[in-house]
């Protein structure tokens, strides 16, 4: 889609550089003249927002590492020192901690966007898989980062997650010991988690490079899901999408700033301001909000190994989605039935998140006694999370493959431009006047 390069070096230096390292040509072709579908809506701005979030997390993270001490005796206090003594340390740490949440918020919107508009389908399967790899790297990085402040939730979260590995038959316990570098989560664990927390974002940045590369081969999907047919369907990336992304980024930053400055701890758990104590587990262990749905799936299964497999399966399912979807129509704009199941899927994810935040035996409807069914009361979060998890898997493995074969999609436009151009009367007069003219 990118086609032959349109870059023309203007100065002698640009010609000299272009013959040696065509970096300006690359920048021009990928960020300036790149032909982009002209109908992208604001759901498409989250790619740019995510790139910005990765940048913010790396910059603030490198700074925090200048002040943080990865040792069990000093880690907690060094974080408090960052909050109290380091110049603007409070700002940088709150930006980083809330940045993780904003990063996940943006990535979830980005992923749901991809699901809704069928962005994972041919020819974008590799693009989608690279996105799934990025998502896994994000979860790993976020987990390692959450351990570093060495609060109660950090420590016991690390204990719970590393113990998941122990569910693997035979070799599990040995792998857990290997991960810990000892017989419990302790100083060696903290040190290696710090090292990995610093490393993974750069790996992530590399995969983001591949993700963008894989994006620029077929070009962007778009809200109609119809591939670009001609030059008429596209506009240059700059200024059309630099400005659109810039506006979305500004709005996103305002919301982000509201968290950083007015409610910096609302997304965290207060118990993590208590220093880690290996001899006492907090009453209620919960991960950060962005991992709750998977935590709920883990707890929905009453068997340790099967729970881990279910949670891993929920993630791995995303990787094979391009081959589970049998529909030829990409965008759910033209798939009313699929759209209904998709919205239920979003709801199921939210319900799973809610379940992950509650203790399994808490009552969903307070006061209602409910019935005992198998191992738990029906009116409990454990049963709600089972329903949610069942829908999660059914959506990908049953509904998506079957719908593509049975549903009747709405008529799909011939091209991106045709729905607009076929109704010339509906176009506001003057809209066709050269928009590039100033004045």
């Amino acid at each position: 889609m990118s086609g032959p390069s349109t870059y023309e070096p203007k100065t002698g230096f640009e010609r000299w550089l272009d013959a040696r390292l065509p970096i300006l040509r690359f920048a021009n072709d990928t960020m300036v003249t790149f032909p982009t579908p002209k109908n992208l809506n604001y759901w498409w701005t989250f790619g740019g927002i995510l790139a910005m979030m990765l940048g913010i997390q790396i910059v603030t993270g490198v700074i925090l590492a200048m002040h943080y001490v990865p040792h069990v005796d000093y880690a907690f206090n060094s974080v408090e020192r960052i909050m109290r003594d380091v110049n603007y340390g409070w700002l940088i740490r709150y930006t980083h901690a809330n940045g993780a949440s904003m990063f996940f918020l943006a990535v979830y919107i980005h992923m749901f966007r991809g699901l809704y508009y069928g962005s994972y389908k041919a020819p974008r399967e590799v693009l989608w898989i690279l996105g799934c790899v990025i998502y896994l790297l994000m979860m790993g990085t976020a987990f390692f980062g959450y351990v570093l402040p060495w609060g109660q939730m950090s420590f016991h979260g690390a204990v719970v997650i590393t113990n998941l590995i122990g569910a693997i038959p035979l070799v599990g316990p040995s792998i857990t010991t290997w991960l810990w570098g000892g017989f419990a989560v302790d100083d060696p664990t903290l040190n290696r988690f710090f090292s990995l927390h610093y490393l993974l974002p750069f790996v992530l940045a590399g995969v983001v490079g591949l993700h963008i590369w894989a994006l620029h081969v077929p070009g962007n999907n778009n809200p109609t899901g119809v591939e670009v047919k001609s030059k008429e369907d596209t506009v240059p990336f700059h200024p059309y999408y630099t400005v659109k992304d810039g506006f979305a980024i500004s709005v996103f930053l305002i919301m982000y700033a509201a968290f950083v400055f007015y409610m910096p701890n609302v997304l965290g758990d207060a118990i993590n301001y208590v220093q880690a104590n290996p001899l006492q587990t907090p009453l209620h262990i919960v991960p950060e909000w962005y991992l709750l749905p998977f935590y709920a799936i883990l707890r929905a299964v009453p068997n340790k190994l099967m729970g881990v497999i279910a949670m891993g399966g929920a993630l791995l399912t995303l990787f094979v989605l391009p081959w589970l979807d049998t529909s030829k129509v990409k965008s759910m704009r033209y798939r009313p039935t699929a759209r209904l199941y998709f919205f239920i899927f979003i709801f199921a994810c939210l319900v799973l998140g809610l379940c992950g935040a509650h203790a399994p035996d808490d009552m969903v409807i307070p006061g209602a006694s409910g019935l005992q069914f198998l191992d738990a009361n029906i009116n409990s979060y454990v049963w709600l999370s089972r329903v949610g998890a069942l829908y999660y898997f059914a959506y990908f493995w049953v509904i998506t493959p079957l719908l593509g074969l049975t549903e009747t999609p709405l008529p799909v436009p011939e091209s991106i431009s045709s729905p607009v151009l076929s109704h010339p009367a509906s176009a506001p007069s003057g809209a066709a006047a050269s928009p590039e003219k100033r004045g």
């Binding site: 700074i63 200048m66 003594d85």
Partner: protein, 184 residues
């Protein structure tokens, strides 16, 4: 904006002397973006300056009652060695005699100690050449010799020979009592 209706002036930019609303928006947005970047850059730069707890440890009290005549103690202050020297009458005499020598960094011995406390010389023990710690008793002037590049200081800590440009620095300090000083 009747005067900028398309067609009235085909492209007001060619002349370059007719700033219009779009130019204003471009400049305003650019300035706002620069302001944001600048405002954000400062916390990211300032975080590397000494932190609050580092500054809080910047002054120390030193008990000098244990220093006897002819002796020197070394205390760590702001991460550097601080020399507290109890000078002998002979050393003070030599230092005063040196006032009239050809000094690279002229200073009288009187200006280098507190009034009436000529015996106590308080110096930052960092060679003014490249930061090594000079040792007492070396050199030809009865004072300090820097082992790194051979700078020689006299009994008042003034540079007499070698590559160092300045006398050994004197920190801000005051006597809290006859036996206690506060440095910093």
């Amino acid at each position: 904006m009747a005067d900028t209706v398309a067609g009235a002036s085909p492209d007001p930019h060619v002349s370059g002397d007719d700033p219009n609303r779009r130019d204003f928006i471009h400049i305003a947005a650019g300035v706002a973006a620069l302001g944001v970047v600048g405002g954000l850059a400062w916390p990211f730069i300032d975080q590397m300056n000494p932190a609050g707890d580092t500054l809080a440890l910047a002054s120390i009290d030193v008990d000098i009652s244990k220093v006897v005549e002819g002796q020197q103690i070394v205390v760590k202050w702001r991460g550097k060695p601080l020399f507290v020297r109890y000078r002998t009458p002979k050393e003070i005499e030599e230092a005063i005699a040196g006032d009239h020598a050809d000094l690279r960094d002229p200073a009288t011995d009187e200006s280098r100690h507190k009034p009436g406390k000529a015996q106590y010389l308080i110096l930052i023990g960092v060679c003014t050449h490249l930061g090594c710690v000079p040792t007492f008793g070396g050199g030809d002037y009865g004072g300090w010799l820097c082992p790194c590049h051979g700078s020689v200081y006299d009994t008042s800590g003034r540079i007499r020979r070698g590559p160092a440009p300045l006398n050994l620095a004197i920190p801000d300090y005051s006597f809290l009592s006859d036996s206690k000083i506060k440095v910093g």
